[in-house]
Symmetry: C2
Subunit: 202 residues, 2 copies
Amino acid sequence: MRGGGPESGGALDRLIQLLARLPGLGPRSARRVALHLLKTRESLMMPLADAMAAALRDVRSCARCGNLDTVDPCALCRDPGRDDTVVCVVEGVADLWAIERSGAFRGRYHVLGGHLSALDGIGPEDLRIAALVERMAAPVREVILALNATVDGQTTAHYVADRLANRGVAVSRLAHGVPVGGELDHLDDGTLMAALRARRQD
Amino acid sequence: MRGGGPESGGALDRLIQLLARLPGLGPRSARRVALHLLKTRESLMMPLADAMAAALRDVRSCARCGNLDTVDPCALCRDPGRDDTVVCVVEGVADLWAIERSGAFRGRYHVLGGHLSALDGIGPEDLRIAALVERMAAPVREVILALNATVDGQTTAHYVADRLANRGVAVSRLAHGVPVGGELDHLDDGTLMAALRARRQD
């Protein structure tokens, strides 16, 4: 299609191709985003380019917990108001953010950086499991495995629990059950079964 | 939420906020995109930042037709193989790209830059209508109004057709009808009515 369309201008074509590789975007939405950016150069495109450069320069992984922040150790690891005796283990930073948004946890975190997956060739050495075991020193009394309730997530949780055995820490997992606001009609059998089994007396 | 989550690192927070302003993205997908970018720094984030900088520097509107390209006049206006007697008028660059992809048109284009909208306060002087009228010189014999089949698009088409009256050019519009591959059952009444009215004998 030389001579017309987005393919004609190399710079625009390249921008669209790269945008299309972002999660949730395809060729069509990438074109839409590129056009929107070029329509809002001053108000959005320039600030976004600056923000990407700043993030590339300043954002790093916390060497202790694996969270992303502009400082290392991260703000969560530095915060003196948090509970040093509990470590919540998550697969990714997005999970950490989700738990922080809930406001239900005030301990420390440990980001594994994924889950074990034979299919994708991800073994224990590819995750931050050794670093977690190293953190099992004096103040830590409990490790909460907040991994995804998927097969891979639960396999990983099982493996991590094994590695933490005989380290003098209690290992717990998130409860299964009916999501708050969830309709029973839309729940899978496994969740319903778990919710029934873990039923509580009023 | 100071002290935790994406809000803790200013650079990351700002990146997410700006990503969330892209069309089709919300706070949740913006967080996902930001994390994906930081996971693929070398392979995607840096090239994307470079592509944005290059597009900001190099991509401009064609002064003649309003298309986006790295050269002005754009590749479509320069192409000596295209038909100078027909000008296809579209609302936006995305429409121009769609028509180019179809391969069904080999004339010149004119991008209006939107449609008339009393609600949004967009009048004729906000669109490239005067520039279109100025292009109605010697070789142009036909103007195809390829505007959206929306109320605003058709209002705009009507207005543009009025402005082009007595300029010695034929003004035509895209045909209405059943989309190729479309199922009658899913079509609105207006389209069905238009397709029936414009029916053709085999």
